[in-house]
Subunit: 151 residues, 2 copies
DNA sequence: CTTGACTCTACAGTTAGCTTGAGGGTTTAG
DNA sequence: CTAAACCCTCAAGCTAACTGTAGAGTCAAG
């Protein structure tokens, strides 16, 4: 499945450049997704062959991993873009990054708090359900859980 | 702003039916959103006037509040739909609801765990940044935070 | 009885994050 | 040298959850 090119062609002085499919396999991301990320400025090939093939250096794998991690933790692509894109602007990124971090930390705190509350609430409902005799589930009241939870 | 109808017309025996705009104001939801929810089977007017106007009973306010709460806690409309829609199917909803709850609780647990980890990670970065002398922000390295975080 | 606020339906548009497809070149294993 | 496997671009489509618009009818106050 994962067949890595050992040789490469192109004018680059680094070694082990990857074609898009190889990068995709290594980073466990779809080829189309990588191209899509490129339109957003999140990844860029180190070079292009004459025929237009993208060639990435292995750093790109880490980049994609970073994106996936940040994403799985509720960062939007545009937030990731902000952090990654800032260096291109040539000015100090730190203030913006710090702001982003503070904002993110505050949001996480709030979400954790709300999720913890919800979890406790749901557990109460679930346990009430567990205590209920089975026949009760089939009374007129279609599901006591729904009556409790729904409104 | 909030002008409630005191009288109503229609064949319903309850009192204080609301027009869609009134319901929207009471529940703090856009009119269009309510109509959209109706297409998903999440809310239904108690009745319609001859001219087609929707008339809701005040229960609908609670329904919308429930939807908003569940939503703010990461439940999708289709999940909410599953819970609310089940009674229409005439069979016992409890097993499905229990399953949904368990699944949701597990997901919350995982998300809380991951968010807590990320928060700690981000706080480390932020604090490292705070300790950094200002000039360091303007060295060749455009932002040490980016170098640390990005890969 | 008219005017303005409200409502109706139907459908197009929006943002996010991709996926799929058409149509056509390129590489590489056998 | 040929056929499979890859790659390219461009464009459209998809899900979620709405928002907005057009064109037309309805209701309530003055």
């Amino acid at each position: 499945m994962v067949a890595l090119t050992e040789r490469f062609q192109g004018p680059v002085s680094e070694d082990k450049l990857l074609k898009i499919g190889e990068l995709a396999a290594q980073a466990d991301v779809a080829v189309g997704t990588i191209r899509y990320y490129e339109t957003l400025g999140l990844v860029e090939p180190a070079s292009r062959s004459e025929s237009g093939y993208r060639y990435y250096n292995p750093e790109a794998i880490k980049r994609l991993h970073f994106i996936k991690k940040a994403q799985s933790l509720q960062f939007s692509l545009s937030e990731i873009q902000q952090v990654l894109g800032i260096r291109r602007q040539g000015n100090s990124a730190c203030p913006m990054v710090q702001q982003l971090l503070n904002h993110k930390i505050a949001r996480l705190e709030e979400q954790i708090y709300r999720m913890t509350n919800l979890k406790a609430e749901l557990e109460v409902y679930r346990d009430q359900w567990a205590d209920q005799p089975l026949e009760a589930s089939h009374s007129q009241e279609i599901c006591h859980l729904i009556e409790e939870v729904s409104y």
